[in-house]
Symmetry: C2
Subunit: 412 residues, 2 copies
DNA sequence: TGACTTCATCCATCAATTGGATTTAGCTGA
DNA sequence: TCAGCTAAATCCAATTGATGGATGAAGTCA
């Protein structure tokens, strides 16, 4: 059931609205804020004073006069708040410290030699995060919390991941609680694609306002959905699962038994296998693939490198996968009616042009796209660390993003 | 940019929250409302008084005492407000008058002998709607407006439909404005599937609270998306387009050039054609299909009737289509992470069991569905007139549904 | 009949926005 | 150079809406 609201929440909401407007525009005056938010000048003045007192924004200059008193420009104070972000991946954990402006003020990569034991992983990551915070010299009282981006399904209600792919031996692991205990910080948990989408929304300014579909290419493929500046979590916290979108069936079988799920056709092992089957050993040798089961990570990198340099066999394999992703993206974009698709993830390296081309062609084919509004396909404004930065943004977003949530449920 | 809010809107919002709670529960006391909405008893008391004064709710009995004073039960006053709903279809327009409780207090069906001229259609429908309102004896001062459910793409910003399918000669028709002028009422316009979903949300009570995906089977196939009690409109007002979801490709070509769009594989003409191709003339004769291009409506009815009586050829054709719809639904449900799928639309008659079976199997196959939460597949609680009732609900929803919209943008 | 419960409301208070008046600061032209 | 103008930002009183505690209303139970 929907909750009612009260005045303190309204105040918090309007503060968040103003903060959001300052963030997305970069620099604005109070009058402009009033126009943007629909609030009166007086209210904006009050709200801004609170934000100044809280150290979240600063007066950062003056605009040239337009006939009267010059406007004093306001901008985000980068050191107003910080958050730690952790992107957990089977191969390594990427840890970042991000300031309110979205800039990374500290980062490190922690190789997970033995990812089989959740307790050990949490312990090591938590300690590394603590050291990173110290080293970055951030004011601990301004550290809002820690965000985690984890692959695969999670149980949103309890803050647990459930059998994440490529984490052998991990069953149901209450990651959020474990990190909260290990660090003493408030913790937010989301899947990597959703976290990346929030990061994009948080950092991307006006270019990422409104609604978009984020397609995340990492260990697997996933999507993050932002609608009307609000992220979609879904009933169980698993919104954006992209791997079960239907595509042209082939001979790859999903865990779920279907032969038409997107996931199995664009996983790294599948693409390496494709290359061997379609283009033979010679092409694989030329590219530098071993084809051994334990060198998937290496081979996947080599395949992408070869794609970047234009190797025809590599490009062919990537393009086949990109086409299937395009089919899925077409369905998703037309279902959600978004006019923007954003691509990101660390595994996008080398394959962006082909991905972008195929997805662009697919999503712009529908009648709505052609007659009512086109769909733009862009790359992440954050880049490689979008997972970790997104994880940190979970915390910032949770604290300062205006939304429904602020009005109805403070706990969320 | 997001708008701020102010106190009157907060008041309206809390009123809507309380009204929504009364509506979804059917009958509740003030204390229960306080618990449900998180508001204080005092506030609920105040809000309820306003709703009583406005004639939107009524005291409708008393609950047995639980040790103290008996609670006075509140329920929606059905005659508190009314809305007209029009479902525009190439074959006929269905017009209904709906009260605040969602009951149909008047309805009629208007055959569109010559749907080629938008002006004529609007004129005839508007006059018929006026007569229906008079005949239903509703207090005109309590008539909130007129909702239109139209097929196909629309331009949400201007309230126009754009080349709706099967309306020959209709280009870009500003339906909303035309109906507003013809009736003098506030007008809401949405596509049929979205309208049906809102109707379901409005009328379905607790069973349709939260989030769900509505699959609408009418002239074409479409979806309506309700997330956190709020309908998704999308950037251009076309959210829920289901016809371009990717499915197993065959030899049917979509307008967009693809052979893997769902739409062409489950349109009535395609299914009739399927039956002829796969099961031959004999089966068609048995079922009563003519196969002539101008008797699609008749043939489609016959095919569904035959399916209901268990004709194997008919069932086979329907099942093939249902499987493809299931593929698309699986992707949509896992992308949105909804735990409920609702089926409706006037063309569902006769084919519900097969549709439900196939869709249920498909959406419950994914890992999230199996390990975290199952997906229930249900039929519309409204039934055949879900399009028209949904159209009327657009108006009721727009006036009384609590949401984001009430807090940020009064115009929307 | 009296003690206890629960429902519902009254009253003073608090928090937040609003509208109008006022102050601050810069521009412009005689 | 100074008065007149314009625009930005703030001050102040009023209004609206939720809150917490106290009070009244209606029933139950021993």
């Amino acid at each position: 059931m929907l909750s009612g609201t009260n005045l303190p929440r309204v105040g918090g909401y309007n503060q968040a609205v103003v903060l959001d407007a300052i963030r997305t525009t970069g620099q604005v005056s109070r009058v402009e804020l009033a126009a943007l938010t629909g609030l009166t000048n007086q209210t904006v003045s009050n709200v801004v004073r609170k934000l100044l007192d809280a150290g979240l924004v600063a007066e950062s200059g003056q605009a040239p006069s337009s006939g009267g008193k010059r406007r004093t420009l306001l901008s985000m104070r980068a050191d107003g708040a910080f958050a730690v972000g952790v992107h957990l991946d089977p191969e390594a954990a990427v840890i970042v410290v991000v300031d309110l402006a979205g800039d990374v003020v500290g980062s490190r990569r922690l190789r997970l030699t033995d990812p089989g034991d959740p307790d050990d992983v949490v312990d090591r990551v938590a300690r590394a995060a603590g050291r990173l915070v110290d080293r970055s010299g951030v004011d601990r009282s301004r550290l809002l919390g820690l965000g985690i981006a984890a692959p695969g399904p999670l149980d949103g209600t309890s803050g647990a991941v459930v059998s994440p792919p490529n984490f052998p031996g991990w069953g149901r692991v209450p990651l959020a609680g474990m990190f909260a205990e290990a660090t003493g910080l408030p913790v937010a948990l989301d899947n990597d694609a959703t976290a990346a989408a929030i990061g994009e929304r948080w950092i991307g300014g006006a270019d990422r306002a409104g609604s978009f579909l984020f397609i995340y290419v990492g260990t697997g493929i996933g999507a993050g959905i932002v609608l009307n500046n609000t992220v979609l979590h879904g009933d169980s916290g698993n919104a954006g699962e992209f791997g079960h979108m239907a595509v042209e069936p082939g001979d790859r079988v999903c865990h779920c038994g279907a032969t038409d799920c997107l996931g199995p056709y664009c996983s790294p092992p599948a693409l390496i296998d494709d290359l061997l089957r379609l283009h033979g050993r010679a092409a694989a040798d030329r590219i530098g693939l071993t084809g051994a089961p334990d060198s998937v990570h290496h081979d996947w990198k080599a395949l992408r490198r070869a794609t970047r340099t234009g190797d025809p066999a590599a490009c062919d394999v990537i393009r086949r996968a990109a086409r299937r992703i395009g089919e899925a993206a077409r369905g998703a974009a037309s279902l959600l009616d978004v006019s923007r698709v954003v691509l990101g993830g660390e595994a996008l390296h080398g394959i962006e042009p082909i991905m972008r081309e195929e997805i662009d062609a697919a999503v712009n084919r529908t009648s709505v796209a052609r007659t009512i509004r086109a769909v733009t396909v862009e790359q992440s404004v954050i880049g490689d660390t979008v997972g970790a930065v997104g994880a940190a943004s979970l915390v910032l977003h949770g604290n300062y993003a205006p939304g429904w949530r602020m009005l109805t449920d403070v706990s969320g």
